[in-house]
Amino acid sequence: MIKKVVILGFFLFLAARAGYTQEGSYERFTVDANSAVSVLQNAFTDNWESSPSLHLGTRVTYHAGNLEAGLRYTDYNVANPDYGEADFSSYFIYIGWEYPFTLYRGLTLAPGLRFGNNFISFDNPKVYPPTNGWAAYPFDPHESEFAYELIARLEYSPGNSPWRIHSGFAYNRTLTYHPLSVGLISFGISRSFATPSWLKNFLQ
């Protein structure tokens, strides 16, 4: 509990601090595309194999850091025959905030926090009892659950090019009854733009 309070306090501190560093808000707009593979081993990843994830995200400079939003798609297939046809697709939609540090010329490290929803779509929804007997009760083929994600992204920008390459690690936890925890290593590219005025007006 103390840990959660400290995290919350830190979060509020950063939020308060953000108010005093407003220069540059909405000036740069970045689009990220990457692919990720699962590296963490646990009961969930032992029983479901994931395809490489596809991720599309956006970032915009906002006060002390970057505000971000995006979508990640992952396909999961049953690895344990005990679970039958429990294949499903996952769509993680999030918003987040990150704080980039410059490590070296052109090289930045950005830790961040994302909150979102993990939409799950089952290929073959379960029916109880399995034999389709009296009063068959089909489960909903769609599920959605709250998820949070801690990220650390290393990004390199060669010279003044708007193109960048990045690699990162993300720890994602979906808060189902038995939480789904995955660790992802990603590789991808980014392209930044000066934020067009219409978009800046919208974001403000």
Partner: protein
């Protein structure tokens, strides 16, 4: 944890920031709605009030005088009352207003005539902003979920769990047009809720297997409103039509369980006021139509109850330099039908109040109202004096005496005595005699408001309350086991007796406006039963003795804000359910494998933390809110048969054009 929060609070209070915060027991000038999902959530923003829920969507309110089974507070939307209380079951989600559009609330716990209507258990007035000039359009969307859904593990027979509650989606849309003197507006809302938590789903889900199909266990509320108004220097005229349909599960206390029902409400209101010099004259006509109809269920339960009532009222106000006087009268004519019952009631109310400023620092208020029905009358009066002792210290003393007609108590036993046969349909026995007494109570209270610093206000109120007679419905349900279906509650004989006792309420409030972007407030409410009959003591054990809230708001940038709301509630005891204590209930049979829970008559104490982030876009036209409720994921339960609210997340978006 509590020590830590108190330390932070004391530290912040010691900081010498500027600006002034005013706190008032009766009014709150602005409302932070970002953390609220639906209108029922407003009930938790009032420190003196407590609310319990069995489904997380509808609530019973205790405003301090009558407890959870007494009459509910009267709800006003922009000063016009709405009466959608059904046997003391009231669902604020039937309001056709977006929570984001409620800019201010005012409330009182005192049973007074307010805006020409007797508010028998206090009132809550929701104020929406006046429409902007020209055409304006508004829309909002809210959706939420509670964690611990089964996810892919539902395929593992050892790990399956029932799905957990979904909140929403709620949709709201509205338009308004305002010219120089007049305006028109229309509003529509759709609210949905899926009470799938095991604690209550095993009871209400059991009703849904009809014609070999499991129907969705879902509450759906659709509301609409149309209003026109004209305002000039002297005239204020408004006409409003309102409609609400609510497909829900009414928790019917005499039954000890939910009953599927379609509740509905229609309103037609015309109101006019004219001001001339020191005089103001107001008149109003209100028509309410309430009904409770059949909702699909496999038991054939049907309230089949409807009421049409007409309310006429006229009042005048006279104001001079140091004095204000109000008086008026209202007449209520209602026609009620249910099953084989047909009943007519006529109640007239006379009311008057006086506000006198005896000195620049001393004021006196007196209030009197008399309710006159066919066979009995009920009178209420209050006397209060307010004294500003220093520039920053105000003391107020109040003496109250209140009577409440049996008809006004809104008890289902009243209709039973008039021939309503619902009890026999539901298998509820009656332990006679049934009390038909008026409720009678007297109280003395002392309020202190102290400005500790330019930015800090302290509020302290003590109230001693004596119930000369308080009618309490009491249903000690039995355990009912049905093969293949599980364990449920079964009603036994309902008792409705007049009880006597003493209560003491204490409230502390501390608020600080650190600057225009930072504010916080702390409230403590303590309520104790000092003496009384056994039933009286048992009844008030449903109410927690101690409640605390701490709210912190920060707006680091003009387009971004954060809120933190912490609430503590001590445990409560529901003795009506003592026969169930320790027994195991289980999920519906088709949700294999069966899941189990345990009935507990004691709801646990809990500490709940909610955080909210709000970001505006497009020059404040678009607002998005992200909330995490019950961040610590503690067991948040208000009613012994109620759901266990775990961590939830809520997303809201609203657009104003």
């Amino acid at each position: 944890m509590i020590r830590l929060l108190l330390s932070i609070l004391v530290f912040l209070c010691c900081l010498p920031w500027q600006s002034t915060a005013q706190y008032s027991a009766e009014k709150r000038d602005s409302l932070n709605t970002s953390i609220l999902i639906n209108p029922n959530d407003l009930l938790h923003t009032i420190p003196e009030w407590d609310a319990v829920t069995t489904d997380g969507f509808t609530y019973r309110v205790n405003t301090g005088l009558y407890g959870f089974y007494g009459p509910q507070p009267t709800i006003y939307l922009d000063d016009i009352p709405i009466d959608f209380s059904f046997f003391n079951w009231q669902n604020l989600n039937m309001l056709p207003s977006s929570i984001e559009q409620i800019s201010r609330i005012s409330y009182s716990s005192e049973p007074r005539v307010y805006n020409q209507t007797l508010s028998r258990a206090g009132y809550l007035n929701l104020h929406t902003p006046r429409p902007d000039s020209g055409l304006s359009v508004y829309g909002s969307f809210t959706v939420g979920n509670q964690i611990e859904d089964p996810g892919p593990w539902s395929y593992d027979s050892s790990k399956v769990t029932p799905n957990i509650d979904r909140r929403g989606p709620h949709y709201f849309s509205g338009f308004a047009y305002r010219s120089s003197g007049w305006y028109a507006r229309g509003q529509f809302s759709l609210r949905q809720h899926q009470p799938t938590n095991l604690n209550n789903h095993h009871r209400i889900g059991n009703y849904s297997y009809v014609d070999n199909v499991w129907h969705a266990v879902k509450t759906t509320v659709t509301n609409g409103l149309a209003e026109i108004g004209y305002q000039s220097d002297r005239w204020n005229i408004r006409a409003r039509g309102l409609s609400s349909n609510n497909e829900e599960y009414v928790f019917f206390q005499p039954f000890g369980r939910e009953v599927p029902s379609l509740t509905g409400y229609r309103q037609l209101a015309v109101q006019a006021a004219r001001e001339s010099g020191p005089w103001k004259v107001s008149g109003r006509y209100l028509a309410h139509r309430k009904f409770m109809d059949y909702r699909l269920n496999n038991k054939g339960y049907d309230f089949d109850w409807q009421q049409l009532s007409h309310h006429f009222s006229l009042s005048s106000r006279y104001r001079q330099h140091n004095m204000r006087f109000r008086s008026g009268a209202s007449l209520e004519i209602s026609d009620t039908r249910g099953l084989q019952m047909e009943s007519q009631q006529v109640v007239a109310t006379l009311f008057g109040s006086l506000h006198a400023r005896l000195h620049a620092r001393h004021t006196l208020d007196a209030d009197l109202n008399v309710d006159i029905a066919a066979r009995e009358t009920a009178a209420s009066f209050s006397l209060s004096s307010r004294h500003q002792l220093t520039d920053g210290w105000t003391v107020e003393g109040d003496i109250d005496y209140d009577e409440l007609l049996y008809y006004r108590q809104q008890s289902s036993t009243y209709w039973y005595r008039h021939g309503y046969t619902l009890y026999s349909q539901l298998g509820i026995g009656i332990d006679t005699p049934i009390s038909s007494q008026r409720n009678r109570a007297g109280s003395i209270q002392l309020t202190n408001r102290i400005r500790l610093a330019p930015s800090t206000s302290f509020h302290f109120k003590g109230q001693a309350l004596h119930h000369y007679a308080l009618n309490i419905p009491w249903q000690v349900v039995a355990l009912h086991e049905q093969q293949f279906q599980g364990l449920y509650t079964q009603p036994q004989d309902l008792e409705f007796t007049s009880e006597e006792g003493n209560r003491f309420n204490l409230r502390l409030g501390l608020s600080q406006q650190l600057n225009s972007r930072l504010s916080h407030q702390f409230n403590v409410m303590m309520q104790y039963t000092l003496s009384g009959t056994n039933r009286y003591r048992s009844y008030w054990q449903q109410t927690p003795q101690n409640r605390m809230t701490y709210e912190f708001n920060i707006q680091p940038a003009s387009d971004l804000s954060f809120s933190l709301l912490t609430a503590y509630r001590s445990s409560s005891q529901w003795k009506e359910y003592q026969n169930l204590d320790g027994k195991r209930y289980r999920s519906l049979q088709p949700q294999y494998p069966l899941q189990y829970g345990t009935f507990r008559t004691r709801t646990p104490s809990f500490l709940k933390v909610d955080i909210t982030a709000k970001k505006w876009f497009w020059n404040q036209r678009l607002a998005t809110t992200f909330s995490v409720r019950n961040l610590l994921n503690t067991e948040v339960r208000y009613h012994t048969l109620g759901l266990d609210k775990a961590l939830q997340f809520v997303i809201k978006a609203s657009l104003t054009l």
